[in-house]
């Protein structure tokens, strides 16, 4: 299973762009990269998913280089409500079961 490595924590200010990078050196050919957001006392919530190059949706962008050994979640113009833990996951298909293993996550704190 591909293991992910992320910074433990980050601070930012409102209105800034935040980039969180995740390393997944052992990613398999069929694995997708997915990012989740978790607020206190809630289950994680899907943000974005990609396989290669760049993916953008209404809340974030995901940049994946050609070797796919890392990925960067970009949050444009963060607000206080973006304070949360962000998890990078690499989907693994093992023995017929597709499952996600969570890494340590990055605790983002947005300051006024």
């Amino acid at each position: 299973l591909a293991k992910t490595t992320q910074p433990i924590s980050m601070d930012s200010y409102e209105g800034q762009e935040v980039n969180i990078t995740c390393s997944h050196n052992n990613i398999a050919t069929n694995d997708y990269i997915t990012w989740y957001q978790q607020f206190p006392s809630q289950g994680p919530r899907f943000i974005i998913q990609g396989y290669k190059t760049k993916v953008t949706n209404e809340v974030a962008s995901l940049f994946i280089p050609a070797d796919r050994k890392s990925s960067t979640l970009s949050l444009p113009r963060v607000s206080l409500s973006d304070t949360a833990v962000y998890y990078c996951l690499v989907g693994s298909f093992t023995s017929g079961t597709y499952k996600y293993i969570f890494g340590t996550g990055t605790r983002l704190k947005v300051l006024a």
Binding site: Q42, T97, K99, Y100
Partner: protein
């Protein structure tokens, strides 16, 4: 999408007792996943529950401690047996959305063992 309901949302239990957590999904799904999140920590996968077969447990988790039932395609239970304070955690049920790789989570069941 998938809407997941968990019961109980929270409970306080005595050491040595067992508690069963229920997970109800609003659509039929093949795989259901149970995670544990200890205070201030990330999520750890306990097991994968497929309807009609025994659950598959991750390293460090055993069926005697965390028996799982999966009687149909919309429901599952996780029992935490012979609890100790170390079992105090949030337990989360999750499923994949239909035709997507997006994992949906319930709100979790917060368990405190005294």
């Amino acid at each position: 999408s998938a809407v997941i309901s968990q019961k109980p949302s929270r409970d306080i239990c005595q050491r040595g007792t067992s508690l069963t957590i229920q997970c109800q999904v609003d659509s039929q799904v093949t795989m259901m996943f149970w995670y544990r999140q200890q205070p201030g920590q990330s999520l750890t996968l306990i097991a994968t529950a497929n309807q009609g077969s025994e659950a598959t447990y991750e390293s460090g988790f055993v069926i005697d401690k965390f028996p799982i039932s999966r009687p149909n395609l919309t429901f599952s239970t996780l029992t935490v047996s012979n609890m100790s304070p170390e079992d105090s955690s949030i337990y989360l049920c999750s499923v994949f959305g239909q035709g997507t790789g997006e994992l949906f989570f319930g709100e979790g069941s917060r368990l405190t063992v005294l």
